[in-house]
């Protein structure tokens, strides 16, 4: 009980004094997860849109793989990326193992299927009459696609937020490919695991609280997007 109380008091001090080590870990976590999410969205959204748009070859198989990818165990993703990036692996020459780039890659692999699947589901749900309306008003094929994507915007954003939720809380994969090197590849989740092992609960609790706050913010954001989609505010994302 003693250690819990002192742990929370110490954690509070670290947060309130904006401890530089704590801040650096949080910033690296946000940087890695943010970059991974950008890559996942750049790849996942067009894939989801293409699958929703027309009957691409092996569509059913790709959708099944995407759905499987949503439940991909992070350590398995980490293991396979490790094998590819290790010295003897096919991409070993890139020297990416135990770098933040490797962590970004593994998180993008984990978030990509979520963004793609939820984007696909959101786009496929758009009423086909929207597409016809765009055509009758003179849209080019690209404008037609963008119009349908815009109609699915809240569902797509919910997919991106869900992807962020997954990668921010992830520990197994990043520890395998990142190595948990202090000041270089140590992020919030890996620090919590390490500091707990060491019995240094102050930093672990402080990071845990920050992680909970981020998770709460993501969930509030998701609920807000769902509400926006329902009440139809008329916000234009591109204009």
């Amino acid at each position: 009980m003693h250690s819990i109380i002192y742990g929370f008091i110490g954690a509070g001090k670290l947060i309130l004094t904006i401890n530089p080590e704590l801040l650096a870990i949080i910033l690296l976590s946000l940087q890695v997860s943010g970059s991974a999410l950008v890559i996942a969205t750049l790849l996942g959204l067009p894939l989801g849109a293409a699958l929703a748009w027309r009957r691409v070859p092996l569509r059913g198989l790709v959708i099944s793989l995407m759905n499987t990818g949503m439940g991909l165990p992070p350590v398995v993703a980490g293991l396979f990326l490790y094998l590819f990036l290790s010295r003897s692996g096919p991409l070993g020459f890139l020297g990416l193992l135990y770098t933040p780039t490797a962590m970004v890659l593994v998180q993008a692999i984990l978030a990509g299927p979520i963004v793609a699947s939820l984007s696909y589901a959101a786009i496929v749900r758009v009423d086909p009459v929207i597409r016809q309306a765009a055509i009758t008003l003179g849209a080019t094929p690209l404008q037609e696609v963008l119009t349908v994507i815009r109609e699915a915007r809240y569902g797509i954003m919910a997919g991106v937020m869900a992807g962020l939720g997954r990668v921010m809380a992830e520990v197994g994969a990043v520890i395998i490919v990142g190595g948990n090197i202090a000041g270089y590849t140590r992020v919030m989740t890996t620090t919590i695991a390490l500091e707990t092992d060491k019995g240094n609960f102050e930093l672990a609790i402080a990071l845990g609280l920050i992680l909970l706050l981020i998770s709460l913010a993501i969930n509030v954001g998701l609920r807000f997007l769902q509400r926006l989609g329902r009440v139809r505010t008329g916000i234009m994302l591109w204009d």
Binding site: D127, V129, I130, R131, Q132, A133, A134, I135, T136, L137, G138, A139, T140, Q143, T147, R150, E151, R232, T233, G234, I235, M236, D239
Partner: protein, 217 residues
Amino acid sequence: MGLNLEVARIVKGYKDQAVLRECSFCFEPGRTYALLGPNGSGKSTFFRLAALLEPPDSGEVRYWDNGVELPHDLGLRRRITLLLPRIGVFNTSVFHNVAYGLKIRGRRGQEVEDRVNDVLGRVGLFHKRRQNGLDLSSGETKRLGIARALVIDPEVFFLDEPTANIDPQHTEIIERIILDMKIAGKSTIIVVTHDPAQARRLGEYLLVMDNGRIAPL
């Protein structure tokens, strides 16, 4: 002058069922036509083909401008429009719904603002311009659909049952909008309706779709 539309012996069928059978007709620019016919007679199919949304199985849809036949490209598609029975309202404000046709044509700024506000005034939706289009009543939704088309100044305007399932008050408003367009004489207007009285009120020429063919009434 405007566009001449000629449909020549068009045939269209779905699953071995012929809908249009060698249907032919010439529409003159600036005229208003009312097309009558029972359900399933092929009126909506005819519209989809004439508005270039689908190709016919055989026969031709031709558009002429000053004696020159036009290719079926984006340039031509942007000179004609079709008001679908279901409007397909975008999940955004009434203003942005109406501005859509201008924005995809690359128009920006004050011109868009002025034209959209003008058209919204003509259809009586100016006071609702900031409201989401999906929150309009069914009658207002039809007027929104007409406003989206009017703002792009179509030379040929197909209206597929513009007053179906709406109350008499909104029907009157929509008929007034169509009659104003008819008086302006800038567009060829082709209206599908089930109501012979409405067809007489709106159309200069009354047509009937019977057994997959168009004939003057």
